[in-house]
Amino acid sequence: MTFDPIYIHGMNCVTPLGMDLLSNWTQLLMGNGGIIRHDVGRIKNSYVAKFISEEAAGLLTPVQDSTLLERMLFTAAKPIASKYVLTPRTALVLSTTKGNVSLLQDGRMADAQLNVLANKMAEALGFQTQPIVVSHACVSGLLALSVAKRLIQIGQYDDAVVLAGDVVSEFVVSGFQAFQAMSPFPCKPFDKDRAGVSLGEAAACVYVSKEKGEFKILGEAAINDANHISGPSRTGEGLVQSVLRAGREASIDIKDIDFISAHGTATLYNDEMEAVAFHRLGLQDVPIHSLKGYYGHTLGASGLLETVIALKAMQEEVLLPTLGFEELGVSQPVNIIREAGYRPLTRLLKTASGFGGSNAAMLVERCG
């Protein structure tokens, strides 16, 4: 059966580049990235996009003794939660991979649980419903948006606030180092010299409902590779299927899009997998960017953060370049954006892929 379409209305984000969407956008237009050399706990000299303490002082505090993540989430969500009426049929969908995992350092096991974080945010923001938590590796942020859409379409809720966030921690950096996946310089998505990820921290938030709005979700899907728990599929099958199925729901030719906001983590195998998938889909000429060069890989926030920035880019009619990209370094030709371009942008394809063989794709149209 077909369902009523769902629209994205308000949106916001909080990153080391800015405390709201507008300040982030200004930094992006100037070509500024947030990845610099930091010490993360006892790990010295990692290239990450992380709040420095003076910047973090500008974050709102939901309750006493809030963690950095809680303050970022609250700062991103507060303007959205205040703008719309939160009813007993408004969902809060929270996306995070590791939440407050750093609390384990102090043995605070119960406080590190993701549902504890979600309940805290729901209460601080004034939600009347039990929060829904999506924790699905690096596709979490984009999948959370699909989850909100789907649950509204099936009639469980009228509207939803989708909130996503993750922070750079010793826990995560040590793990990516153990995988030898951390880049020794700010990450270079799709470049021939790329050498791994730069991690980042961010929070992003959108409001979705059945009410007609500026951005219409045309279709989406999240298909597993069923191939390997940590290595991307060589054929990109899960990503190909996700895009094809999103296109089927949208009832459009998937080539009929203006740009792709790719996952583009800058690991050798991820970017290669994406290039193979986009090529198989016939999307090799469509302009593609990865925003990881600006924000690093923000894990459970990335899918939603990059969607928010892509929607803003559609409003402003700007194709953002892929920071860090110089020379194509994947086996299949793809059209990576090198310099900012200015043109009307009506349709976006957003994709994400992650550990556990996960993939997600969404097609969004600007209704003007």
Partner: protein, 182 residues
């Protein structure tokens, strides 16, 4: 719009007992550790799948529940929707222990990869070739309404023909799996 979805089959694993559709199919003495119970329950399946031994406890539990419920089932367009309370906290603590002490710092990729809750869903997808819709939720208790509504959406939108969904929780020897096929 929510239609009543029908449970076609179920599998419960708790207290060292595996029950499929109200039939006890495997049990062990309750005083043995989960790892021994899981190994015995795996051997009882009589399958050749060495990857099982590398999995963390959450993935072993999910793997076993999927294996027992999917025997003889059609897996075409079978989506996977799982939830639990503790995410990957049991393995998170093991990774944290490996970096806690500067003198004894040894983070391992084989542990770190299991510090994501959805890896257990990935393990099931690999084993059964499920190139299908996948989602992992965290909730204090089995969020039946959300999961059933989500499964109903997947069926009604033709994004899946059938859905394997349920609860798979493991934290420090406390565990419970409850799987359904819709």
């Amino acid at each position: 719009m929510l239609e009543k979805i029908t449970i076609q089959k179920s599998c419960t694993i708790e207290q060292h007992r595996i029950v499929v559709d109200d039939m006890l199919v495997w049990s062990s003495a309750t005083d043995m550790p989960f790892s021994d119970f899981a190994k015995d329950a795996f051997h009882h399946l009589d399958i050749d799948y060495p990857k099982f031994y590398k999995m963390d406890a959450l993935s072993k539990l999910a793997f076993l529940a999927a294996e027992y419920i999917l025997r003889g089932e059609d897996k075409d367009e079978l989506a996977l929707v799982l939830a639990n309370k503790s995410g990957s906290l049991d393995t998170d603590i093991k990774h944290q222990e490996s970096i806690q002490d500067t003198e004894n710092y040894y983070p391992r990729p084989a542990t770190f990869v299991y510090t994501l809750a959805n890896i257990c869903a990935g393990e099931i997808s690999i084993r059964h070739g499920l190139q299908t819709e996948n989602a992992f939720f965290i909730a204090e208790e089995f969020p039946e309404e959300t999961i059933f509504a989500y499964a109903d959406y997947l069926l009604q939108s033709n994004k899946a023909k059938r859905v394997l969904c349920g609860w798979v929780e493991y934290f420090q020897e406390d565990y419970r799996a409850l799987f359904y096929i819709f």
